[in-house]
Amino acid sequence: MTDLLKLSGVHTHIGRYHILQGIDLTVPQGQVTMLLGRNGAGKTTTLRTIMGLWQASSGEISLGSERIESRATPDIARLGVGYVPESMAVFSDLTVKENLVLAARDGPLDDSQLDWIFGFFPALRRFWLSRAGSLSGGQKQMLSIARAIIEPRKLLLIDEPTKGLAPAIVMALIECLKEIKRKGATILLVEQNFFAARELGDNVLVMDNGTIVHRGEMAALAADVPLQERLLGLSLEAHQ
């Protein structure tokens, strides 16, 4: 199994704070890798550093055969990385359609791809010409995910996508991510929802205090409640 993404010895400082303190991780091609950890562990900072939104102060980040740690964010995106930030960051002054038009940077919107997305998130069709700012939190989340998958991407970095979603939509989202995986995408997913993590994850990384404290198979962690309690402070069951 080749690794699509590889971080070695990555440190990130934000102002005076030393947040990432030597991250080593790999994300295997074609798999879903979960990134878990307590609040403040550094999960979001890790995704932002990969995306070039924070500059790594030392260490190496490679995507396939490319070194990306000192590339600018737009260049990293153009290598085929889609990003769904924790804050969703939909453009609230633009309509749902306009948000997706911008996300489809390689050309006009593709109808069959759109229908496929509407199948998972029917609300997006309904609010197609509404301002994204008028959507509910969950609908914004759907739009933010739709933006990352409107065109095929090699690697998706997704930060807590199920936060604030109703159970039915969480199911749709899980189906959607599974299908994206079947289509060949590789996903690095930050997720606290145990059900989603167990359903989707092939591998798991657990972070604490800016380092990776556990790496292994998701199924193994899901079966080992004492390990969950040691790593995450409480069992994954209790997380939902």
Binding site: T73, A89, P122
Partner: protein, 336 residues
Amino acid sequence: MTELAATDPLPKPKRDIAPVLLPVALALLVIPLIGSTSSWLTLTAASLAMGMMIFIMASGLTLVFGLMDVLNFGHGAFIAVGAYVATLVLAPFAASIQADSLWMNLAVLAPAALLSMAVSGALGLVVERVLILPVYGQHLKQILMTTGGLIVAEQTLYALWGPQIIPMPLPTSLRGSFILGDVAIAKYRVLAMLIGLAVFIAIQLVLNRTKLGLLIRAGVENREMVEALGYRIRRLFLGVFMTGSALAGLGGVMWALYREQVHASMSDDLTVLIFIVVIIGGLGSIGGCFIGAILVAMVANYGGFLVPKLALVSNILLMVAVLMWRPRGLYAVTSR
């Protein structure tokens, strides 16, 4: 689920029209204070004309603030440079300007304005690369650099053209007024209104109907996310900066013709008004800038007529009042 959704009515996007009503309300409110209808109409026309010129000058600045969070205190330089460059065309062709033929006047005026825009825009390119790029993200240094740039520009204009005020007479066909009953509205004011309106519509079309415009609006709201979608926002910013500089140059020509004179520090008073417009409009909002410019011009004109002693502070008071109502300006479009 999809079928049920499709039959649901589409919620109408809400439009925030309260700010639009503000200048209308202000204009109606002063009618009884001014008393005479013809004075009121004249003052209102003057306000709209002046407002449009200020809008043209301020529109680029608000996008620069909103898009890149860059504090440009040197925007006035583009206004002065635009006006001076126009004299290069207008002075040698003074005969055509004095001719009583609209077409002959325009045949000189239009190239003069276009040359001013080209030179101001090119100067914008240099300023962005040389003064702003190195201090990107550092507000204090931006203020120092751009203020320094403004001083250098003004002194260069003095050195090249001398300290005297240069007359810039209005073309003959644009002198005089349209007479409607007992109301006279200066022709040049009507022209200024039309040009301002055309610029406003053109900017709105670009911002709302083109992908480039969508990117600018998205960038004003969240520049990081635009980059994360794979767009190089620095290039976009350079384009906006140059366009804004060119528009400031156009505004400079129009203002100089309005005042019928050019001097190197002509933009100093205007700059204060432009900053007030950008702040009360909401950083990065073209609609807010448009309304703000009309409000500022109305306060200057009505205020100057009613309480001349308060002319200086009246626009500061306007700013305070608007910010008390909406602390981030009439339309808050940035996420900062």
